[in-house]
């Protein structure tokens, strides 16, 4: 997927001026509320027309003020998953799902309804009215409806922001499957860095209607580590839980972790703040923290006077945050070995 955007749009006192080339299949558009993310999405989808400039998707000119060309939204094959699911309330789940599919040319119907219904586990919902679905179910149907239109590009406009934390992280695997299993490139719009870390490989950062940065979620999380109230958020996919004396043990690669807030599910996603990790140069004799990982320093980075220490525990990566003084005292360098202590209660289960 190649998307070239060079557009200008004035909306009252707000003006959007974005120039960007996107080639990554999983791209995020990150910005605060009112930064112009949704306007950009409307312009790319054709729901709004730029004042000036051009938008080119895979060598097809979607809009050009110079060539006086403007392909309408219904012909662009760019589907949207909205913040609110926006399911058609007078149609059943099945009719909603097939709305775009029926309007898609036969030669473009690469994704079949059966495949998608299986992938998103929608079979039990098919005959239901959309008013009877939960927030998460609605969003899954909305995703399915957009994907079944067989779009060339999928725009996800803060699709998780209307959901609570638990549902949000339950939906993410479904959203990811769009790219991983169905190979549909997407632009994921959000103001949450954690969502960006899970959903994207590249990020366009938007501020006051301008694209101020092209980066990755990882890089942004590192840059923001010192200012962020929670530091750098490590996202850990843990598996194979076992209950043991009031705690859960999880497999993390070849490591074993003790976690307080566990759950009997094959796989779970946990977050761990970089500030919850204490580093020791030598093995501490006695410690209350239940997890003590033998690590090697793989990388180090600066973030506004703080030092991010990227640890490798049997190949699994973890970022710890320490002050510069501590880094100097412990004489931490790349390749040095450390012990990382983490309390079992420091892990927060997301899904």
């Amino acid at each position: 997927m190649k998307l070239h955007i060079d557009i200008e749009k004035k909306l009252g006192a707000f003006s959007l001026q974005v120039k960007a080339d996107v080639s990554c299949e999983r791209t995020g558009i990150l910005g605060e509320s009112g930064s112009g993310k949704s306007t950009l999405m409307h312009l790319v989808s054709g729901l709004m027309q730029p004042d000036k400039g051009e938008i080119i998707l895979d060598d097809q000119c979607l809009f050009s003020s110079f060539k006086k060309n403007n392909i309408s939204a219904e012909q662009r094959r760019i589907a949207i998953v909205f913040q609110q699911a926006m399911l058609f309330p007078h149609l059943s789940v099945k009719a909603n799902l097939l709305y775009g599919f029926k309007r898609c040319h036969t030669e473009n119907r690469l994704i079949k309804p059966e495949t998608l219904i299986d992938l998103l586990k929608l079979q039990p919902l098919l005959q239901r009215g959309v008013e009877h679905l939960s927030g998460g179910e609605k969003q899954r149907v909305a995703l399915g409806r957009a994907v079944l239109a067989n779009p060339r590009l999928l725009l996800m406009d803060e699709p998780l922001s209307a959901l609570d934390d638990t549902l949000r992280f339950q939906i993410i695997p479904y959203l990811r499957s769009v790219s991983e299993e169905l190979r549909i490139p997407y632009l994921f719009i959000s103001h949450s860095l954690t969502e960006m870390q899970l959903m994207t490989d590249q990020i366009l950062e938007i501020k006051n209607g301008r694209c101020i940065n092209e980066t990755t979620a990882e890089q942004l999380a590192r840059n923001r580590m010192a200012q962020s109230p929670n530091g750098y958020i490590n996202l850990l996919h843990l598996s194979n839980p076992q209950q043991e004396s009031g705690l859960y043990t999880y497999k993390w690669g070849s490591n074993t972790l003790f976690v307080s807030a566990g759950k009997h599910a094959e796989q779970s996603l946990f977050e761990l703040s970089s500030r919850e990790i204490i580093l020791f140069k030598k093995h501490p004799e006695a410690i209350s923290a239940r997890n003590l990982l033998d690590c090697r320093v793989a990388e180090m980075f600066d973030s506004d006077g703080r030092v991010g220490v990227v640890l490798s525990a049997n190949g699994e990566k973890l970022v710890a945050e320490i002050v510069r003084q501590a880094a100097d005292e412990l004489n931490i360098t790349i390749g040095s070995t450390l012990f990382a202590a983490i309390k079992a209660s420091s892990f927060r289960r997301l899904a």
Partner: protein, 228 residues
């Protein structure tokens, strides 16, 4: 309840006029409401004023304008006369009078229905490949049904009660253009016919109540079908 044979004719004529006026106005009213709600264009305010004008004008004034337009020497009347069509003083004139007077109510109700549709639903249908006419029939029309139902009921009821414009363009000819209100007017002019007038009033109430019940029933049915 006392009803003369010409009263029965007046009742049927009233229902026929009200039904025809509602049916003929529906597509027009729906299109006007759609234009006002969804289409940006110059002169929208003028269209809104024109559509709502019959609501503020006395019906007699509307009837008089219609007479000028549809009469033998009127702009439209002349053209119709050349094709051998006469409208004035026929039941069709009563339909036109009712349609003109009731249209603002119909448009208002449909408009309220359309304005309650979330614009993102329309955006969603467009990005899913639906052209404007497709969106109109598959999203806007079904989601405006409540407004259409309410507007149709209002318009039907208003047509049943239409008097001022009808008497001017259709006259008050028993068996031909005399509707319930015109017949009541005739009875009310003579003190000996109070019972007959009252009977027709009761019929009028009965029809109106039935229409309101039908409206409620259809609305609930619509809501139930959505809730499934």
């Amino acid at each position: 309840m006392l009803l003369a044979p010409e009263d029965i004719t007046a009742i049927w004529l009233s229902i026929k006029v009200a039904l025809t006026a509602t049916a003929l106005s529906l597509p027009f009213g729906f299109t006007v409401a759609w234009l006002i709600v969804f289409k940006p264009f110059r002169g929208k305010v003028l269209l809104e004023v024109l559509v709502n004008l019959p609501l503020t004008l006395p019906p007699v004034v509307i009837g008089f304008f219609l007479l000028l337009l549809l009469g033998k020497n009127g702009w439209i009347g002349k053209l119709l006369a050349e094709s051998g069509i006469t409208l004035i003083f026929t039941w069709k004139a009563a339909v036109i009078a009712s349609a003109t007077v009731g249209l603002p109510l119909l448009v208002r109700s449909i408009r309220i229905g359309m304005e309650s549709i979330d614009r993102q639903l329309i955006d969603a249908s467009r990005t899913l490949g639906a052209h404007w006419y497709d969106t109109l029939f598959t999203i806007i029309l079904p989601l405006s049904l409540r407004g259409i139902l309410a507007g149709s009921s209002l318009m039907f009821a208003r047509s049943l009660g239409e008097f001022g414009a009808t008497i001017i363009v259709a006259g008050n000819i028993p068996g031909i253009t005399q509707t319930i209100p015109l017949a009541i007017y005739d009875y009310a002019s003579s003190p000996s016919s109070t019972t007959m007038a009252l009977s027709l009033c009761m019929v009028s109430v009965l029809i109106s109540v039935s229409v309101l019940f039908l409206h409620e029933w259809l609305t609930r049915k619509l809501d139930r079908s959505r809730a499934l």
